[in-house]
C-alpha cells in the first residue's frame, strides 16, 4: 500500500490548482454563470491546452495517459473550485463509454476530439420512470434498413444541452428491467427527431431532458455490442461515482476550511465562536467525517479499474454510501456553523452545499446503494 502521489501526479495537481486559483475565484465564477452556456467556453479551451480534457486517454489518442487516480486529482480540485464546465459528462462519462466499448475507429475519431476541446458528450441513460434502476429502460431502438430508429425519452441528462453527441441507451430487445437487450448509441444532437429541453439544476449546473421521435442512427454509431449495453452502463456509472466522490471531497475541503476560517473571525459574546468547545467539536466531527469520506473516495478510485465486476460494484457501492453520507453531514454542518450568512445566495458555502446535494443523487443515492448492499449481506 502506498498513498503518496508520484511526481507526474503532483505536477498535474499543481497546474490545475494554479489555473483555478487564477481563474475560478467565487466572484469570477459568477460571471461564467451569466454566459448562455452556463459555464466558460474560454476555460474549456484552456483545459484542452493544459491537457486536462485528455487526462484518462492513451497518448495515441492525444491523451495524458492517466487513469482513475489522475481523474481523482482533477475532480477533487474541480470540487474545491465548484467548476461549471461539462468535464464529468464529457471526459469521465463519455470518455469511459468510448474507452470501455468504443471500436478503434470510434476511439480514433472521438477521443482526440474530446482532448482538443472540439467535442462534448453527455450520458443519456436515465429515464423518468426508472429512478435509479439501471435496467429500467423503455426507450426503443428498432432495426431499419442499415441502421436504427430510436423512440423514447431521457430524463435529467447532466450537461445534455451542451453536448454535441449523446451516449444514449435504448432497448433493442427484451422488456423493461431486462438486463439483456440494452444497447448504447452515439447520437448526434442535431439529428432530426431529437429534441432537448435544457434547464438549470439546483447546483447551478445544466441538464436536459431529451425526447426521441423517429431518430435515425447509423449502424456505425452503435457503441459496443448490440444488446450488451448494461455492462458498459455499469462501467460508466462506476467511473462517474468515483469521479464525483473525489469532487465531493474537494467540496468538503472547501466547506471545512471556510467554516474553520469563519469560526476564527466571527465573534459572539465578545469571543470568536471557534473558542467555544461546542463549535470546536463540531469542526472536529466535520474533519473526521471528511477524512472517512476521503478514504472511501480513494477506495472508489482504486476499484474503478478492478478486473472483477462483482467486487468492483460492491466496493464502489460502499464508497458511494460513505461519501454521500459524509458530504451530507459536512455540508449541513457548514451551514449550521455559519449561521444566517450560510443561508445566503451571495455566500459560497450554500453553493457547495447544493453541489454536494446533487452529487449525492447522481447515479443513485446512499439509501439506494445501502439497500442493495443490504440484499447482499451474507
Amino acid at each position: 500500500m502506498d498513498f503518496e502521489l508520484v511526481d507526474d501526479q503532483r505536477l498535474l495537481q499543481d497546474s490545475i490548482t494554479r489555473l483555478l486559483g487564477d481563474r475560478y475565484a467565487f466572484e469570477q465564477r459568477k460571471n461564467y454563470l451569466k454566459t448562455p452556456e452556463g459555464f466558460s467556453p474560454a476555460l474549456w479551451s484552456q483545459y484542452a491546452e493544459l491537457g486536462l480534457l485528455g487526462v484518462p486517454f492513451a497518448e495515441e489518442y492525444g491523451g495524458f495517459g492517466g487513469g482513475a487516480q489522475e481523474i481523482m486529482l482533477v475532480m477533487q480540485a474541480f470540487g474545491r473550485a465548484l467548476i461549471l464546465e461539462p468535464y464529468l459528462a464529457t471526459v469521465v462519462l463519455g470518455g469511459t463509454a468510448l474507452q470501455v466499448a468504443g471500436s478503434n475507429a470510434q476511439k480514433a475519431e472521438l477521443l482526440p476530439a474530446i482532448a482538443e476541446g472540439r467535442l462534448k458528450l453527455a450520458f443519456a441513460h436515465s429515464e423518468r420512470q426508472a429512478r435509479y434502476d439501471l435496467t429500467d429502460v423503455v426507450t426503443t431502438a428498432k432495426r431499419s434498413g442499415g441502421g436504427w430508429v430510436l423512440d423514447g425519452a431521457k430524463s435529467v441528462v447532466t450537461h445534455g444541452d451542451a453536448a454535441d453527441r449523446l451516449v444514449l441507451s435504448a432497448r433493442t430487445s427484451g422488456d423493461r428491467y431486462d438486463a439483456d437487450g440494452i444497447t448504447l448509441f452515439l447520437v448526434d444532437t442535431t439529428t432530426p427527431g431529437l429534441a432537448r429541453r435544457g434547464y438549470a439544476t439546483r447546483d447551478e449546473q445544466r441538464a436536459a431532458d431529451v425526447a426521441l421521435s423517429n431518430v435515425t442512427v447509423a449502424d456505425a454509431d452503435v457503441l459496443g455490442e448490440v444488446g450488451k449495453g448494461l455492462a458498459i452502463v455499469q462501467r460508466i456509472v462506476e467511473a462517474g461515482i468515483a469521479a464525483t466522490a473525489a469532487e465531493a471531497i474537494g467540496a468538503m475541503e472547501a466547506m471545512h476550511s471556510m467554516t474553520l476560517e469563519y469560526s476564527k473571525t466571527r465573534e459572539q459574546f465578545g469571543k470568536p465562536i471557534g473558542s467555544y468547545q461546542v463549535v470546536q467539536h463540531r469542526l472536529a466531527d466535520m474533519f473526521m467525517t471528511m477524512e472517512q469520506g476521503r478514504s472511501m473516495a480513494m477506495l472508489a478510485t482504486m476499484m474503478v479499474e478492478h478486473p472483477e465486476a462483482d467486487e468492483r460494484a460492491r466496493k464502489i457501492a460502499m464508497a458511494k454510501v460513505g461519501v454521500g453520507q459524509a458530504a451530507r453531514y459536512v455540508s449541513q454542518s457548514a451551514i449550521q456553523m455559519h449561521g444566517g450568512i450560510g443561508m445566503t445566495e451571495e455566500y459560497a458555502v450554500g453553493h457547495y452545499f447544493r453541489r454536494c446535494m446533487v452529487i449525492e443523487r447522481l447515479f443513485g443515492d446512499p439509501a439506494y446503494y445501502l439497500q442493495r448492499l443490504a440484499e447482499d449481506v451474507e
Binding site: M1, D2, Q277, F287, L370
Partner: protein, 401 residues
C-alpha cells in the same frame, strides 16, 4: 499511489493467518468464539506461543526480540489476531512499557525487563489515572519523596486495569510539587506490585467483571534505579507512551469479529417466523456497519502507511485521534448489534448459576457474552483519552483553534 496490498503484504497475511490457525489452542479459541474475554492464563499461554515464534514484540527492534515488521505488517497481524479470535497481546507489556524502555530505559532496565515483558513472565499494569486526574492527567497528586537511594511513594491510583493480576506497575508520580508547570514535576517509576505498602482493591465493572482496580500506595519504597528517564521528566515519557498507544487503538479486527458473531447468531434466531438474518432492517444495519468499517480500514492504512514513510518521527499523527474516535464508536456499535441479535437471551448472566446447570448451551452462553462485551466496551470511548479529549486534540493539532 497504489492502494492495493503488495504481494509481500498478502503473503504475510496468509502466513499470519495460517500460523494462528495452526497454533491457537482450541480451548482458547472456543471460549473466544463464544464471545468471552480471555482469562489471564489464556493471554499468557498465547503470548508465549507468539513470543516463541518471535512475533510478540510487534514494533520492537530486532535487537530486543521484535519481528522487525513495518507498521502495515503490524496492523495486518493485529487484525488477523483479533478476527481469529485470539487473545490480544498484553498492551501494557508490548505497546506501552516495552517501547518506553527501549526509548528511555537504562541498559540494566532493558535487560531485566524487556525479555520478561515479551514472554509475559511479568504482567504489567499502568498507574496513571487518579481520582482527581482522569482526562486531566497532569493534575496527578501521588507523591514520591527522595530518601537516599529510594523514593517513598504515597497516594492513590484508580481505574488500574488488571492490577490484581499484575507483577509490575509503571506509575506516574509527582517528584516536584513546586514546579512552575504541573507537567514539569512528574517522574515515571517502575514499581514491583509485591512491595510492602501497596493495596489493590477491586472495582467491579457494569458487566460484572473484575478488570479495574484502585491501587493505594502507603510509604512504598521504590529504588531510584527503577526510575525511567530523568527525574521530573516523566511527562515526556508519558506523552511518548500515549502517542504510541494510539496506533492500534481502532481495534478494527475486534469490530469485524463482533459483526461476524452477530451474523452467525442471526442465522440461528428467528424473527417474525424466519431467520433474523433475512430481516431487511437487520441487513441494512449490518451493511451500514460494514461500510463504516471499510472506511476506517482505509483511514487506518493511511495513518500506518504515513507512519512507515516518516520512519516513525515520534510525533503521533493527529489522524490517529480519528482512529480512536471512529474505531471505538464502531466497537460500541458492533457489540450493540451482537447484543440486539441475542434478543431476550441477552438478559441472563452467564455465571455460576447457569454454568452449574452443566448442559452445554452455546447460544445462551454466546448471547450472554455479547451483552458482556456491550457493557464492558462502553469504556472504549473513555479509556486511552476520552473521545471528547480526542476532539480537543484534533481541535488544536489539525484545526489550529
Amino acid at each position: 499511489m497504489d492502494l492495493r496490498f503488495t504481494p509481500d503484504e498478502t503473503t504475510f497475511r496468509e502466513e499470519v493467518r495460517a500460523f494462528i490457525r495452526d497454533n491457537l489452542p482450541i480451548d482458547i479459541r472456543d471460549r473466544m468464539r463464544l464471545g468471552h474475554s480471555p482469562r489471564k492464563e489464556d493471554t499468557v499461554r498465547w503470548q508465549r506461543i507468539l513470543n516463541q515464534k518471535g512475533w510478540a514484540g510487534l514494533s520492537w527492534p530486532k535487537e530486543w526480540g521484535g519481528p522487525g515488521w513495518s507498521a502495515i505488517q503490524k496492523m495486518i497481524f493485529l487484525e488477523e489476531n483479533q478476527v481469529a479470535p485470539a487473545p490480544e497481546l498484553s498492551s501494557f507489556n508490548i505497546t506501552m512499557i516495552g517501547p518506553v524502555l527501549i526509548q528511555f530505559g537504562t541498559a540494566e532496565q532493558k535487560q531485566r525487563f524487556l525479555p520478561r515483558a515479551a514472554n509475559l513472565d511479568d504482567w504489567w499494569c499502568q498507574g496513571f489515572s487518579e481520582p482527581g486526574a482522569g482526562s486531566d492527567l497532569a493534575s496527578l497528586k501521588t507523591s514520591a519523596k527522595r530518601d537516599g537511594d529510594s523514593y517513598v511513594v504515597n497516594g492513590q491510583k484508580i481505574w488500574t486495569s488488571t492490577a490484581h493480576q499484575a507483577d509490575w506497575c509503571f506509575v506516574l508520580v509527582r517528584t516536584n510539587p513546586n514546579a512552575a508547570k504541573r507537567q514539569e514535576g512528574i517522574s515515571f517509576l517502575l514499581v514491583d506490585m509485591k512491595t510492602p505498602g501497596i493495596t489493590v482493591r477491586p472495582i467491579i465493572s457494569i458487566d460484572g467483571s473484575h478488570h479495574l482496580n484502585e491501587v493505594f500506595f502507603d510509604d512504598v519504597n521504590v529504588p531510584v534505579s527503577m526510575r525511567v528517564f530523568e527525574e521530573n521528566k516523566g511527562w515526556d515519557v508519558a506523552k511518548f507512551l500515549l502517542g504510541n498507544e494510539r496506533t492500534g487503538i481502532a481495534r478494527l479486527g475486534k469490530s469485524k469479529e463482533r459483526v461476524k458473531a452477530a451474523k452467525a447468531m442471526a442465522r440461528e434466531v428467528n424473527a417474525n417466523g424466519r431467520p433474523l438474518i433475512q430481516d431487511a432492517t437487520f441487513r441494512q444495519r449490518v451493511a451500514q456497519l460494514e461500510i463504516d468499517m471499510q472506511a476506517l480500514e482505509i483511514t487506518q492504512y493511511r495513518v500506518v502507511s504515513a507512519y512507515d514513510k516518516a520512519k516513525g518521527s515520534g510525533r503521533p499523527d493527529p489522524l490517529s485521534s480519528v482512529l480512536k474516535v471512529k474505531g471505538t464508536e464502531l466497537l460500541q456499535a458492533t457489540t450493540e448489534l451482537a447484543m440486539d441479535v441475542a434478543g431476550p437471551l441477552s438478559m441472563p448472566v452467564w455465571a455460576e448459576e447457569l454454568e452449574a446447570m452443566n448442559e452445554p448451551d452455546d447460544m445462551l452462553e454466546a448471547a450472554s457474552a455479547s451483552t458482556g462485551s456491550y457493557l464492558f466496551l462502553r469504556a472504549a470511548s473513555i479509556y486511552g483519552g476520552t473521545n471528547e479529549i480526542q476532539k480537543n486534540i484534533l481541535t488544536k493539532a489539525v484545526l489550529g483553534l
